[in-house]
Symmetry: C2
Subunit: 213 residues, 2 copies
């Protein structure tokens, strides 16, 4: 990630909320399970949600070889990847000063295919580790046929920008006497109790027991 924004990543709208630090970007991506990928083809612009995980200075996705997302991105189509966490609704004294607290990251670039069996396996292991640290040892690893049918892709975090809003409302001075409740209605981002499948025959391993943190 470059410290200076590019023409595409310079945030103009409410620029006070812009953040170009790698630590902010990494934290936003690491808290996400999915991203939205925008790209353009003969049939127009598309916005596809897909699972993602970060390794170092790249964001990874994977998909079936036959899917449009993988086909197009493999051809080097330019993409814009966005991750957004909504943290709360911000209630102000004036209708137009209502806002939302959020953390969003936007990455521009082209995806590249992760080539080679070992590299693909390492990346998918990293994804499994994100889902459940330690789980890879419990399950059947991907076989050659499964890996052959799957494309792993990554986009560099070079051209990226974050936008973060926190805190309370920013009311106009002339509105301060309005007797409305002001503050934040926050979202919890919590995890619910694991639900074993009806065919499950084993006790919860540690990574399932720890799901709720």
């Amino acid at each position: 990630m470059t410290a200076a924004p590019t023409e595409r990543t310079r945030i103009r709208r409410i620029a006070n909320n812009a953040d170009y630090q790698a630590a902010t970007l990494h934290a936003i991506l690491d808290a996400a399970w999915l991203c939205h990928v925008a790209f353009h083809d003969d049939s127009g612009s598309h916005c596809i949600p897909t699972a993602c995980w970060r390794e170092g200075d790249h964001l990874y996705i994977h998909g079936s070889n036959g899917g449009r997302l993988v086909k197009l991105l493999s051809q080097g189509v330019q993409a814009c990847v966005t991750v957004t966490h909504l943290d709360g609704l911000v209630l102000a004294r004036a209708a137009f000063n209502h806002s939302m607290n959020y953390r969003s990251a936007m990455i521009y670039g082209q995806f590249e295919r992760v080539e080679g069996d070992a590299a693909k396996r390492a990346s998918m292991d990293a994804f499994m580790d994100k889902i459940s640290p330690g789980r890879a040892a419990d399950v059947r690893p991907g076989n050659d046929k499964e890996f052959a049918a799957t494309t792993v892709m990554r986009i560099a975090l070079t051209e990226a920008a974050c936008k973060v809003r926190t805190g309370g409302p920013k009311d106009d001075a002339e509105d301060m006497d309005i007797a409305a409740w002001v503050g934040e209605l926050p979202f919890a981002h919590e995890r619910a109790a694991p639900v074993p499948h009806e065919t499950c025959t084993v006790e919860q391993p540690e990574y399932v027991a720890n799901w709720r943190g």
Copy 2:
């Protein structure tokens, strides 16, 4: 929303999860506070998160007149709007059968501007009602200057499709003897306690007290 998918909205990948019913689409949109809008301009494809609300057969957004999103969409640029709710991680006996439970909606089309002061005010009131039913009466309504600086836009829900996955893992028959924990690690989508701003001088109104449901 048409019962039959178009060439763009026909879901090919894991088509069993496709859903073209208006009730499903409405429920997914009504549960969302923001959408991701993809569009394309001279500088490439973009994926912008923005607040949204539904009225009837349209999804609405709003923005500052000066913003790129509003400028481009006002010109009739084709857009793809996606809303995604992630409901859980699905743990299977084989690495490649891991999945996610989700509800997503995708809408293709062009936005149109909501023209006329009365129509804009009615739409912004609907948005406020979604945020906090009854709150409009407590706050200063938008003034002429604020409305003049704001564009309200909407996209018809005509060309749309949903994809929904629920339930447990779908393991291969030959993997059923693997003694791994299988099931869902769910997300809670809960709301946290309202946080009054330091300048707040009034008791919680009903819509704040009811925030957590």
